[in-house]
Amino acid sequence: MKLECKVNGENREADGVREGESLLYILRERLDLPGSKNACEQGECGSCSVYMDGMLVCSCLVLAGQAEGREIVTVEGLADENELHPVQKSFIEAGAVQCGFCTPGLIVATHDLLERNAKPSDVEIREALAGNLCRCTGYEKILDAVKLAAAKNGNGA
């Protein structure tokens, strides 16, 4: 089957797609966008989080066919080549990145949270990111990073 969708603002297509392939597989193996990670393949860890038509989804749970005609934004599409997004900067500054494998999913999920709620409380942050597993950090620095990003947004950064 042939798949056409918009990814990070560009029209993309993939040929010869098997019915069982996930959107995550398409992104990583067919569209050369390996930023979204495959860590559980069952929607538990959030490492593959992307936007589909503006909604946060686990791309491992989206069948390729479901993405037909949709607009996808991945971690690679959140910033341009030269300037990181404030969320990305905050994760580095706060020390919220260690091995980095959960990071892209957390960046997209945090981006989504702050779009919906510019000044989330600690409880709201922990709840919003409860679907993103991390094995390195112990989460405390991730909380700091989200608060730092929220503060940067507030300052018009």
Partner: protein, 700 residues
């Protein structure tokens, strides 16, 4: 902090990790993501029995499937050299030693084609009876020749039985810790490609040279014919230290399609059968003390599990040998060899389960002696390492306990269990000590090149598994070269760089850092002696090997720590929450305050996770882990973690290495599960000696 560091001032600064900008934009290249032309995809065939042999394997339907390139089985697999490692010597016959063992693979043009076709391979087994029941009363337990890291299995000082018989206060209890799986977020991944008799592996590994030195002999190759590339690794926690059979399977499959890269990433499910795990342990702790609470006997008798096909003996009892003062100390280790997957390293193998038992028992014994658990530990502080007889190079346990008690607000604690309540929550506090040895590993070398523009390139085949190596090694090199951090470029994670040990045993910075210091000194001397103190136009380089540390024979070297935990337990449901945790560490000089804090914190939360969540449940009939995914193998999420207060004491230790640093990757996990268990006891009056502390153990 990204500001320029003044020359000589990099070590200690909270410098942000240098590869962070790649990771936050999804541009860091992990093993599976190297861009190679026309890769083929591997999906493994795994045994569905735990003991027996493959009697018949029919791949004809799979081979006929569109997109399938080849099916690898023991009938067509290339021959491996017999190196005496049955975990790695896969597909050499049809024998099966544990459920989930690799018995073949499908290689196809796409991953989905390979996975689908793998289901079409028909396999018949001759099954033998499965023996996977881990019990301490088995009649076939045995003492291994040695434990992991070379420790003696059994030790005895003084007369433990006599001391216990005459002790005024006696304690005897058994603790159990479950099988646990490392579960780094990045599944174990490889891309293998053969070219004219040489193998290139793009790997997710804790040591490129560990992989090279393990894989090359299996394929009958000189080490330099195996190239291992691993710039970024999505966590390891020990499971990517000793290479597992997935690497061999990828390399065997790539031989069938010579010249074509073969990609293989384990699924999360597969990681529960082939990627190592922490053995379950059963530990009987006996303590004796005089009427004042001075310990007279310490004893840990350990029973743990290994696989029939390959022995791994965790050093669970070793911390009992050196932690507290006593004239009579005994430790023993017995193994049960079963039809199960091969155990391996998981963050602080030995110390993590061993200190759960010992530090829980110390809490119980403090209560028996009617002493505060902090003061009880302090009054049993040893003056030297009782195992080796050597003085400690530094021992900051008492300082950590005192500092932690102050920060946590321990003073004035009512020792009576169930003495504090907040609505339906029972509130308690607990303490536990932590320890981890300062290991050093050999075989390191480094090269540093200075260019005439004042920039330096430092090469060493070290690993960054999320620990911060890219950054911290640059800090060490910059200070020793006397230049600013920004003028040093690190090159690691590739066997094209000089030989290095791996990230394991919290030994990385000690081993690699000592080597860099030596290389930097050599380079400075060379510039001074041969070039009059100026870098010549063509540049100049120097190499060095890791020097021997003469103090190793003079001092016992350990890092220490203390954890303080508040636990709240719902009286009706048994739900446990940990709203705050204070930990203080004595780990020598801290190389990078930012990455160090993260390392400590990650360890603490992994201990919290061991206390409350993690348990791989084995079905003893079939020998497999039932809860083999993140839906059922629970690790904490953001919502499970409360306030974490982390600090470290200033510690000047001139003996451990030239930096004065101690490894910090593992000490955070050690003792933290015991601190949680001790707090849960204080909250509820229920002592849980079997991890994890799940609600059912509190409401029965």
């Amino acid at each position: 902090m990204t500001a320029t560091q003044a020359p000589g001032k990099s070590v200690g600064a909270p410098i942000s990790r240098v590869e962070g900008h790649l990771k936050v934009r999804g541009a860091a290249t992990y093993a599976y993501e190297h861009r190679l032309d026309e890769p083929a995809y591997l999906h493994p065939l795994q045994s569905t029995i735990a003991n027996g042999r493959v009697a018949k394997i029919d791949a004809s339907r799979a081979e006929a499937e569109p997109g399938v390139v080849a099916v690898l089985t023991h009938e067509n697999a290339p021959k491996l050299e017999a190196v005496g490692d049955a975990e790695l010597e896969i597909l050499q016959n049809g024998e099966v030693g544990f459920r989930g063992q690799f018995i073949g693979a499908v290689i196809a043009d796409t991953f989905e084609a390979a996975r689908y076709a793998a289901g079409l391979v028909e396999i018949e087994y001759e099954e033998r009876e499965t023996d996977a029941d881990f019990r301490p009363d088995r009649d076939d337990l045995y003492t291994p020749e040695q434990l992991n890291a070379g420790f003696e299995p059994d030790t005895s000082v003084g007369d433990v039985d006599g001391a216990l018989a005459s002790a005024a206060v006696k304690f005897d209890a058994t603790y159990t810790t479950p099988r646990e799986h490392n579960n780094p977020m990045e599944p174990h991944s490889s891309i293998a490609v053969w070219d004219e008799g040489e193998l290139t592996l793009y790997e997710s590994t804790q040591g490129v040279y560990w992989t090279q030195n393990t894989i090359a002999p299996l394929f009958g190759l000189d080490a330099e014919k195996v190239h291992v590339i691993s710039p970024h690794v999505g966590g390891g926690f020990g499971s990517k230290g000793l290479p597992h059979a997935n690497v061999v399977l990828a390399a065997l499959a790539a031989m069938l399609v010579e010249g074509r890269p073969v990609k293989f990433a384990l699924t999360r499910h597969m990681m529960f059968s082939v990627a190592g795990y922490r053995t379950p342990t059963i530990q009987r702790i006996r303590l004796g003390a005089d009427a004042e609470g001075k310990l007279s006997a310490i004893c840990n008798d350990v029973v743990e599990q290994t696989s029939k096909i390959k022995e791994f003996a965790e050093q669970t009892g070793t911390s009992a040998r050196m932690m507290y003062d006593s004239s009579n100390i005994q430790t023993t280790h017995l193994l049960a060899a079963l039809d199960v997957a091969v155990p391996s390293w998981l963050r602080a193998p030995g110390e993590a389960p061993g200190m759960f038992a010992l530090e829980s028992a110390m809490d119980e014994m403090a209560i028996e002696c009617d002493l505060d658990p902090v003061e009880f530990r302090i009054m049993n502080e040893p003056e030297k390492d009782l195992e080796s007889g050597l003085p400690f190079s530094s021992r900051g346990l008492v300082a950590c306990l005192r500092e932690g008690a102050e920060r946590f607000g321990w003073d004035g604690r009512n020792p009576t269990p169930r003495s504090e309540r907040d609505g339906r929550w029972l509130v308690g506090t607990g303490v536990a000590s932590s320890v981890y040895p300062v290991f050093s590993m050999g075989g390191n070398a480094a090269t540093i090149r200075a260019d005439s523009d004042g920039k330096y390139v430092v090469e060493i085949g070290a690993a960054d598994i999320g620990t911060g190596t890219w950054t911290t090694l640059g800090q060490i090199a910059a200070d020793e070269l006397g230049v600013s951090f920004e003028d040093v470029e690190m090159k690691i994670g590739d066997t094209k760089f000089p030989n290095a040990s791996g990230a394991g045993g919290s030994s990385g910075i000690t081993s690699w850092g000592s080597t860099l210091v030596e290389a930097a000194r050599s380079l400075r001397e060379k510039i001074e002696a041969e070039h009059g103190g100026n870098i010549p136009d063509e540049g100049v380089e120097a190499s060095a090997k890791m020097p021997k540390n003469p103090h190793r024979k003079e001092y016992a070297m350990y890092a220490f720590g203390a954890h303080f935990v508040e636990a709240r337990v719902d009286e009706d449901t048994g739900e446990v929450r940990v709203p705050r945790m204070t930990s203080v560490f004595a780990a020598g000089r801290i190389i990078n305050a930012k990455t160090a804090r993260s390392q400590f914190m990650g360890g603490m939360v992994m201990g919290l996770s061991a206390a409350l969540h993690e348990e791989s449940v084995l079905d003893t009939r079939f020998g497999h882990v039932v809860n083999h995914d993140f839906a059922e193998y629970h690790i904490p999420t953001n919502a499970d973690v409360g306030e974490l207060d982390i600090s470290w004491i200033e510690e000047d230790d001139p003996y451990v290495n030239p930096m004065g640093s101690k490894g910090i990757g593992e000490i955070g996990i050690v003792g933290s599960a015991a601190a949680v268990a001790n707090a849960v006891y204080h909250a509820t009056g229920t002592r849980v000696r079997e991890l994890p502390i799940t609600p059912d153990k509190l409401i029965s």
